[in-house]
Each structure stands twice: as structure tokens, then as C-alpha cells.
């Protein structure tokens, strides 16, 4: 199954290599990995989507925690969360085909961000399923996708302060359920994201 981990890490040279190296060492394939800033200076947020058996998640998390410079790890895939991805698509289009694409963009709530005589660029944000949906329509409609760039997923839990910074300010919600360690295979976490994520 696909796991979505969020790791807060110190913004230091080489940390990304440590995180990536860990997945390689554990023989787990990374589907996507995004890194960016957070609400705290000096802390980066890494979202890793990885393919692994369900019961491997606790060990992957425990191993991530062992890396120096990893401050916090969350398996957001096990919780209600908003998961988004951004994609940019450059599509071959001339005067005759543009208007159809404008309509498609509207249906998918994508934006036209660049227009050239023989192409246009769409920007779309949403769940992976939504982006896959747009791509599918384009391919089936015999549009030529000249270029595509996808960010990979970013995730944030709904209504729950996930960062330890807030925890130290008084949020006492337990971050790690120890039971998931000793009873990983029995754990039946509702995966609310499945329907949203898979087209």
C-alpha cells in the first residue's frame, strides 16, 4: 500500500540524503518526496509517499526517528488529512483547440498560466486522483502533453496540531500510538484518503 509520512527535519545540509538513504536501505521505494519550509525557522517539512506493506509503517517511522535531525514523524495516511499535489502541464494547442482546453480547465478547476502560439500551460492543484483524471482526459482526447511537472504530495492532518512545537505549548494529544508498534498488522486505521487519492 501507499504510505504518506510527514517528517519535520532540521534544515541542514545532507539531511535529505539521510532520509532518502534510509528508504533505500530499508528497501522501500519512494513514490514522491517533497521538501519545503514550515512555520518554524530552521525546520523543513518532508512529505514522503512510499510503497510498502501495511505493517512496515511502524518500523519505517521508528527508523526515521533514529536519524539525527529528524524532529517529528507522522504517518498521515492513517489519519484524516488533506493531501494535495500541484502539477503543471504544457499542452500543444493552437487557435482551434484552445477553447476546448479552457473548458476542460474550468471543469477541473485548473488555471491557464501561460499561453503561446502553439501551446498553453495549465496549473492544477488537488488530490492525485484529480490530477490523474485531467491527464486521462487529455490523453484520451488526443491532446499532446509536451511537458509535465508534478510536485508529489504534500499532506496535513485535519483539525489536529501535528507539530511537536505546538505539543510543547500544551497540546497533549499523543503523537505516537505505541500499540501500532506491537500490533501493527491488527491496526485497522480508517484510510479516509483512499477514495480521494485514487482515481
Amino acid at each position: 500500500m501507499l504510505h504518506t509520512f510527514v517528517a519535520l527535519v532540521e534544515d541542514k545540509t545532507g539531511l535529505l540524503a539521510r532520509v532518502a538513504s534510509l528508504f533505500r536501505r530499508l528497501n522501500v521505494n519512494i513514490i514522491s518526496l517533497t521538501v519545503g519550509g514550515t512555520e518554524t525557522v530552521g525546520v523543513s517539512r518532508t512529505t514522503i509517499v512510499a510503497e510498502a506493506a501495511e505493517d512496515r509503517a511502524p518500523r519505517i517511522m521508528a527508523s526515521l526517528y533514529k536519524l539525527e535531525g529528524v524532529l517529528d514523524v507522522d504517518d498521515v495516511g492513517r489519519h484524516s488529512a488533506v493531501i494535495r499535489e500541484l502539477a503543471m502541464l504544457k499542452i500543444a494547442a493552437d487557435q482551434n483547440t484552445r477553447s476546448d482546453l479552457f473548458q476542460l480547465a474550468e471543469v477541473f478547476r485548473a488555471r491557464v498560466v501561460d499561453l503561446a502560439p502553439e501551446s498553453l500551460m495549465l496549473e492544477i492543484t488537488g488530490s492525485a486522483g484529480k490530477i490523474e483524471g485531467l491527464i486521462q482526459i487529455l490523453v484520451q482526447g488526443n491532446y499532446r502533453i509536451l511537458e509535465m511537472a508534478r510536485t508529489g504530495r504534500m499532506a496535513m492532518r485535519r483539525g489536529h496540531h501535528a507539530s511537536r512545537v505546538l505539543e510543547e505549548l500544551g497540546d497533549t494529544t499523543p503523537r505516537i500510538d505505541l500499540k501500532t508498534l506491537s500490533a501493527a498488522s491488527r491496526h485497522e486505521a480508517p484510510d479516509l484518503l483512499e477514495d480521494e487519492n485514487h482515481a
Binding site: 545532507g14 533514529k66 508498534l181 506491537s182
Partner: protein, 595 residues
């Protein structure tokens, strides 16, 4: 003035304590030593070279004993042996490029066995980093997966904080090696040294570290109802210093103890509850007890494939309690019923006052029956048939040293015979490469152990193959004037590989027979006394002579060539499917009881 150091000179300058009480400008090179001294380091194993020369130049100002090795792999194994013998952090030092890469095998050895070690390497100047400069290698990249953590330090002011943090990381939680790579310009420049301000962030325990009360209750309940429990004792007991606690635990509950290879010295061999070593070359009754158990209490061990055999058939009827400091080990190989994550000593102390009373007599009796005469308790009683067996050699060394020596083994058959026939009663008295199985480990690791524990008698037990991998360190023994006794179990083969070829490859002894130099002459060339032993009658007198001799002593034991280690579990076989000692052609025969 002749600045040339005489060999044997040690630097015992009195420390300038003022630099620790008030911030002082120091060069980066001085900062390296000042920080090491501040961390309590007295001994460093290393080898100089271009990119670390500023640091070596500053050595004379600090009260550090530097042991010049003959190959940097020796330095990392020595630091490792030093740490295993003493429990303190071992320190190895090398230059950039090949100096750093030569440390790698020793670092991986320490990583696999969770040994606290700090390696300091020189690096090319920061302005040429990344240009493939002379002797430049990306050692932090190379060692990324085999260190607990590593640092590339480019600025003088970052040296002290990096080294102090390296010591904190190496020792905290599950220990391991840490590497600090320091550019040459960082060593040469000057910055204010402030030891106190360089203190690392306090150890942040793994957030999954928790033995919550519900899990403790579950564990106690399993203990209360267990009829056939076995304690699995690992090296974590030594790391945690929980030798007393595990003993009290076993005695109070009358639960027998099986040890891993690295856990052999965590529980006294002579203790009536000690079953012995488990796993691939464990005695039959130990593995049978584990397979028949209804509860396993795993303490500071990680269910390595060498101790479980086939996982699908491992202890099928046993509930499992796993007490372990590294959450990533829980449910890794063996699915457990209760995971108690934390410091072993603390968890055992939580459990001890609440332990249920139980009558263990029936189970202990059943195990005793399993032993039958399978145990060759006193191999000394076997008649001398004119052959010299490694088991006799090791057992005799045990007898002559009263079991009080620190034995440092290499890897292979002799290592398993050592585990079977040298009975260790005191903690940290067996030093051996378990996880990585590094041949060439013994001689340098023994040097480290002797430097750490000069008052202890230290014995190297190595095979003829592994010994030749690092034998140049004999010169280090001489230069450092160390009293180390060396026993080479010489069978003219890469013995363990030959044994596998015999068992699994139809005796196709491909590339395992090996010609060795005359080890006694080799020792003699170094100024080390030595002797050949070919018969059983000569073993004890020669071992005695070695002990009496003031300097290092090497004994070349010419043992039976095609002897094998039994019992043995074939890879992929179940733990109880042992290949037992053959009855023919082997005096160390057990009359096997029914399997």
C-alpha cells in the same frame, strides 16, 4: 633541539585546565584534542597523513596517548575493542581519502554490533571540497549508512560542538559509531574554544520509547502463566549495565537463560540457570528449549537470523516479550506480543518488585533431560588420540586462565569453538565481531582491549586466515610494548568456509586451503616470542609459558584440519533441525538424544 620523538615516547603532558574554565582562542587542531580531553579521552588510535597533519602537530600539547597503527582498519577495530572492553567511547583517527576509506570496515563492524565509537578524519580544505582534490573522498557520504550519524566540519568554531555531539550520539540510546570529518583549513584556523558552550543538546529519547503500564501488566501476566519460559540474553544487557538485574530476574523466577553470541558475557556461564549460547552453533538443548518454550523474554537482542533459524518455524508456541531500546527492532524479524521499549535496566527494575512467584522446577528438569549426555561437559576426559583439536586448545586456555582473561576472537570456526568451550563468567570478557562477522578483527581489537584494560590478561584467538588479514598490527604491539597472548588455531583452511563446502557444496574445497607463513618466525621478526604446538600434551605448558613471558607471545596451534563446528543449523532450516556432532572420526562425540 632534536624534535624527533623516540619510539615508545608517550605524551603525558599535564592538561591545561584553564582552557576549560574560560573561553580561549585555539587553532582547530588544538580544539580537536582539547575537546577529546574534555570528553575524558585518554587514548586515540590513528595514522597521520596530509589532511590531518595540523591535528597531529598539536598532539604534543595534550595528555593523550596516541597508538600508531599499521593500517587504518586496525585503528577502527582497536577503538571498537577499546569500547567493548571498557564501555567507554573508542576513538580512531585517520587522514582523508584512503585513510578514511580504510576505516570503513571497522566502522561497519561497530555499527552492526552497536559499539560506541568516534572516528575523526581529516578532509581537504573547504575551498577545494568537491573538486576531486588529492586524497579527497566523500567519507560522510560513504559512511552515511554505516554510522549512527556523521559530520562534515568546515569551520573551526564548529569543531568542538560537532565532536561533543558525536560523543553524545555514540553513547546514547542504542550506541553506535559516529564520524567527524574536519577540513584542513578548519584545523588550521583559530577560533575561541568554549567547551561548556559547545555542550550538545541533551539526549532526546526516541519518542516511541515507552514501557507503558498496560504493557508492563501484560508482560507480568504472560510471566505469571508461563510454564516453559526462556530468557534470551543479548548484548543490550552489557550496554545497559543490567547484569545484576537480569540475574535477579532469572533467579527469582527460576527462568533459564539462553545467550546470544554477543550476550555470552552478560550472564555468568557457570550460573546453573545459564543454558549457553543459542542459534546456529548453539548446543542442542538450548535451541530445543527455545523451540518448546511457551514464553520468550528477549532482553537487548534483535532476533538476528543466526539465532532464529527459519523465522516461520521459530518458537512456534511461544508468546514473546521484547525488551529493547531501539523501537525499530520491535517486530522487525519476529512478531512479538509485548514490546517494552526503553532502557533494559530501568524496565527490569520496574518488573522486579512485581514478578510473580513461580515454580520452575519441572521445566528446568525437562531441559536437563534434553541435555542427556549430549553435553560434552568435560572434554578433558576424552582420551588423547594423537590429534590436536581446537576445542581442546580453547578449553585448555580457559582452564589455565581460570576464565579470567579477556578473549578477543576473529571470525570463523575458532570463534564458535571459543563460544562453546571458553566459559565466560565476567562481563565484557569476550570481544568478537558478531553482526558483520569481520575477519581480521581479533588482533587489532585485542590491542584496543589491552589499552583500555592494561591490568587484564588479554588473549587473541584467531584462525590462520583471519590473522593474516591484519597481522601487521604485531608491530603495533611491539611499539606500544603490550603484553598480549596470541593463539592461532591453524588448520590450513579457511575453516568455516571449508565446513560449508563440506556440508553444502559436496566437499568442493574451492579456494579454501591456504598456505601461511611460519607464524612463529613472523612473530620472531617482530621481536615477539612464539611457539608451535602440535600435540595435546604441549597445550597447557605452552599456554603457561606464554602467560609467564613478560612480553607478547604467539602460539601457533596446528590443529586437526577438517574438524567442523557442531551442532550446526543449515541456513533456512528450523532452529531445532540441527546437524549434530558426527559419532565417527571425532572424539568430541556426544551420544545424541532423540531430537
Amino acid at each position: 633541539m632534536d624534535k624527533r620523538k623516540k619510539i615508545g615516547d608517550t605524551h603525558h603532558n599535564s592538561p591545561d585546565t584553564a582552557i576549560y574554565t574560560q573561553p580561549t582562542p585555539l587553532t582547530g587542531a588544538e580544539t580537536v584534542w582539547a575537546t577529546l580531553v574534555g570528553e575524558g579521552v585518554r587514548d586515540v588510535f590513528g595514522y597521520p597523513g596530509g589532511a590531518i597533519l595540523p591535528v597531529y602537530d598539536a598532539l604534543r600539547k595534550f595528555p593523550i596517548r596516541h597508538i600508531l597503527v599499521r593500517h587504518e582498519q586496525g585503528a577502527s577495530h582497536m577503538a571498537d575493542g577499546y569500547a567493548r572492553a571498557s564501555g567507554r567511547v573508542g576513538v580512531a583517527m585517520a587522514t582523508s581519502g584512503p585513510g578514511a576509506t580504510n576505516l570503513v570496515t571497522g566502522i561497519a563492524t561497530a555499527m552492526l554490533d552497536s559499539i560506541p565509537m568516534v572516528c575523526i578524519t581529516g578532509q581537504v580544505s573547504s575551498k577545494v571540497l568537491g573538486t576531486d582534490a588529492f586524497q579527497e573522498v566523500d567519507i560522510t557520504g560513504i559512511t552515511l549508512p554505516i554510522t549512527k550519524h556523521n559530520f562534515l566540519v568546515r569551520r573551526t568554531e564548529d569543531i568542538a560542538p560537532a565532536i561533543r555531539e558525536a560523543f553524545r550520539i555514540a553513547q546514547s540510546g542504542r550506541p553506535g559509531p559516529v564520524l567527524v570529518d574536519i577540513t584542513k583549513d578548519a584545523q588550521q584556523n583559530t577560533a575561541v574554544f568554549d567547551f561548556a558552550a559547545a555542550a550538545p543538546q541533551p539526549y532526546r529519547p526516541h519518542p516511541m520509547l515507552s514501557a507503558d503500564s498496560a504493557s508492563i501488566r501484560e508482560a507480568l501476566e504472560l510471566l505469571r502463566t508461563a510454564k516453559r519460559p526462556v530468557i534470551l540474553a543479548g548484548q543490550g544487557i552489557l550496554h545497559s549495565g543490567a547484569m545484576e538485574q537480569i540475574r535477579t530476574f532469572a533467579e527469582r523466577t527460576q527462568i533459564p537463560v539462553a545467550c546470544t553470541l554477543l550476550g555470552l558475557t552478560a550472564f555468568p556461564a557457570s550460573h546453573p540457570l545459564n543454558l549457553g549460547m543459542m542459534g546456529m552453533h548453539g548446543e542442542s538443548w538450548v535451541n530445543h528449549a527455545i523451540q518448546q518454550a511457551d514464553l520468550l523474554i528477549a532482553c537487548g537482542m534483535r532476533f538476528d537470523d543466526r539465532v532464529t533459524g527459519s523465522l516461520s518455524t521459530y518458537a512456534p508456541n511461544a508468546k514473546k516479550i521484547h525488551i529493547e531500546i531501539d523501537p525499530a527492532e520491535i517486530n522487525k524479524n519476529v512478531r512479538v506480543d509485548v514490546g517494552l521499549i526503553g532502557d533494559l535496566k530501568e524496565i527490569l527494575e520496574t518488573l522486579l518488585p512485581r514478578l510473580p512467584g513461580r515454580d520452575g522446577a519441572a521445566w528446568l528438569h525437562a531441559i536437563s533431560d534434553m541435555k542427556g549426555d549430549a553435553s560434552v561437559h568435560d572434554i578433558q576426559q576424552l582420551p588423547d588420540n594423537g590429534h590436536l583439536y581446537a576445542a581442546h586448545v580453547i578449553n585448555d586456555i580457559w582452564r589455565v586462565t581460570n576464565g579470567n582473561a579477556i578473549v578477543v576472537t576473529d571470525v570463523g570456526q575458532h570463534q564458535m569453538w571459543e563460544a562453546q568451550y571458553y566459559k565466560h563468567d565476567s562481563p565484557r570478557s569476550l570481544i568478537t565481531s558478531g553482526g558483520l562477522g569481520t575477519m581480521g578483527f581479533a588482533l587489532p581489537a585485542a590491542i584496543g582491549a589491552k589499552i583500555a584494560c592494561p591490568e587484564k590478561e588479554v588473549w587473541v584467538i584467531a584462525g590462520d586466515g583471519g590473522f593474516q588479514m591484519t597481522s601487521p598490527e604485531l608491530a603495533t604491539i611491539v611499539q606500544e610494548q603490550l603484553k598480549i597472548n596470541i593463539a592461532i588455531v591453524n588448520n590450513g583452511y579457511l575453516g568455516m568456509v571449508r565446513q560449508w563446502q563440506e556440508t553444502f557444496y559436496e566437499k568442493n574445497y574451492e579456494c579454501t586451503p591456504l598456505i601461511s607463513p611460519d607464524f612463529v618466525k613472523l612473530a620472531d621478526a617482530h621481536g615477539i616470542r612464539g611457539a608451535h604446538v602440535n600435540s595435546r600434551a604441549d597445550v597447557i605448558p605452552t599456554v603457561e609459558a606464554a602467560r609467564q613471558h613478560a612480553g607478547a607471545f604467539l602460539i601457533d596451534f596446528h590443529v586437526e584440519q577438517e574438524d567442523s563446528v557442531y551442532p550446526m543449523i543449515a541456513p533456512g532450516a528450523a532452529l531445532h533441525e540441527m546437524i549434530r556432532r558426527p559419532k565417527k572420526h571425532n572424539p568430541l562425540v556426544e551420544t545424541a538424544t532423540e531430537d
